[in-house]
Symmetry: C2
Subunit: 321 residues, 2 copies
């Protein structure tokens, strides 16, 4: 199934089913909001599956991804991992810090979840001096996960897959990292691509609780990266289990992969500017790529190997807030 949320003057919007080709949509009959659905998934999903199959056969109204909200416009919890080893290794090398990547223990922080920006909304930020950067990621939305759930069981709690831009302010991030407290100012609201999908929509590309598809990133209309999603050091099942070790996870918890990155980043590019700057430091002795300026756009999209659209595109402009 594929879901989007359209504006209806409420904070959670109105849940819609979207046809597989993202051309048409219809209000979800069984659930008013994505939060309501995720809180009662098992009871509500069968009727929605029936409605989804009918929608794919025809009917509904035209779907305009650019007018959609984030599929989950606000969440009770957003926990973001950093599961791509090549990203962590590169950043550690560049900044001369310890590489905190640990084969046994995922990296994860808790971020702002009271609003996720709509996929084509402007992104208001206070100043270019903060080092405005994007981070292309994948994420999952879970139903309620009991404390102490193991990874094998956690996989069954992953109900939806999403695509995220984890906006980051690079001038602030290292200052906050040094305190050990994690990021507050360095991590403003994230954006979410318009469509959340059930894992079965990916077929074999949902593999080992990882999304085995490239995330294509364009900055101001130029290709910036197309890293594949599979190379996570920990699968989403392990990230969910890590998050749930000392807390139960509320239904609707969103868990992110961290910046999508592959070891051959010199060939396929990156999903954030910081990584490209790091490569420049290693290869050329200094970073020459600047961070984003007001008016800049970033576009991120992931499609199936046959071109079938999946999450729709994030396509946003950064503006002075």
């Amino acid at each position: 199934m594929k879901f989007a949320t359209l504006a209806n003057n409420t904070p959670d919007g109105r849940l819609h089913l979207v046809s597989r080709d993202l051309s048409r949509c219809a209000p979800a009959e069984a659930a008013p909001t994505l939060q309501a659905l995720i809180e009662n998934w098992d009871a509500l999903a069968p009727a929605l599956q029936t409605q989804y199959e009918a929608l794919n056969a025809g009917g509904g109204e035209p779907f305009d991804p650019a007018s959609a909200l984030a599929p989950l416009p606000r969440a009770w919890q957003w926990l973001d991992g950093s599961a791509y080893e090549s990203h962590g290794t590169l950043m550690a090398k560049v900044f001369g810090i310890d590489n905190h990547a640990d084969k046994e223990r995922p990296l994860m922080y808790q971020g702002l979840s009271d609003h996720f920006l709509a996929p084509c909304a402007d992104v208001p930020l206070p100043t270019e001096d903060d080092g405005i950067d994007f981070e292309g990621e994948f994420g999952v939305i879970c139903d309620a996960v009991p404390m102490g759930t193991d990874a094998a069981t956690a996989r069954g709690h992953i109900r939806l897959l999403v695509q995220i831009n984890d906006w980051s302010l690079r001038a602030v991030a290292p200052i906050e990292m040094r305190t050990g407290f994690g990021w507050v100012q360095a991590k403003p609201a994230c954006s979410m691509a318009p469509v959340a999908v059930t894992p079965d929509e990916l077929g074999d590309a949902w593999r080992d609780a990882r999304i085995d598809l490239p995330l294509v990133v364009d900055w101001n209309g130029e290709r910036f990266g197309a890293a594949g999603g599979y190379d996570m050091g920990f699968g989403f099942d392990q990230l969910v289990a890590h998050a749930a070790r000392t807390r139960k996870l509320v239904a609707g918890t969103v868990i992110g992969s961290g910046t999508v990155s592959n070891e051959n980043y010199r060939e396929i590019g990156s999903s954030c500017i910081a990584e490209r700057r790091g490569i420049e430091m290693l290869d050329e002795g200094a970073a020459r790529t600047g961070f984003m300026r007001f008016g800049d756009r970033v576009r991120m999209e992931c499609r199936m190997a046959d071109g079938t659209p999946l999450f729709g595109a994030i396509d946003q402009k950064v503006v002075k807030g």
Copy 2:
């Protein structure tokens, strides 16, 4: 005004006004929940003030703080500072780490906010090996704060004061701190004392956006500390402004002070076990106080100088989760 939330089989409970002496309560007529109130404070507060004055004159039903939920049973955002310098200085000295206290920049992390434990609910945690500790704190609840709000303006957005136990797992905390990502496993759900109060209830004890009253902490019935709330290096107004520099704050954001601590901790005691252990390390060469065991209780209460109850007491038992 004083507010409590009583269980009614919904996640947000039913908002009640509580008499100044915490003996009686009545359903808040103007707002069903604290979240609804904080989203529309200016419009709803006058009628509630009238109802509160009538309740103080008589009527209502008996108020049992032990049966209350957290006044805000779940929040869209919880940002916890660490504003007591004596706590930070001591912890840095004990652990041989840099003291991250900065005169210009508060310490702050984003924590779990999808549920706050009720003040007398059992606290389920997975294992004693994690180093179970309490952290007695004060906090504020804000209405909506625009991005970029300065401290002077932020003060007007502080609508309610609360008392919090920020449960902490000390065996995990340093591992997570070293990554720079902040705490996930080390910070399970917090608890909140039963009553949230408007700042005017404190009279002169609400001073410089600080709570100038002691927080009395008892561990298994023995006095553990009674540190005063005033000694914050940053007032709550500055903490709110710090949080809002690169994000707007959703109405109902809870912002914490960090562990209440005073420089004369050898005389007045501490609000967390880690601090006592630190003092033992300095004075005796080794920590001799262990962390909490399953079955242990901690009680935290803050009263006015004349004995008038304020937030009611947190009084909880730690259990195997």
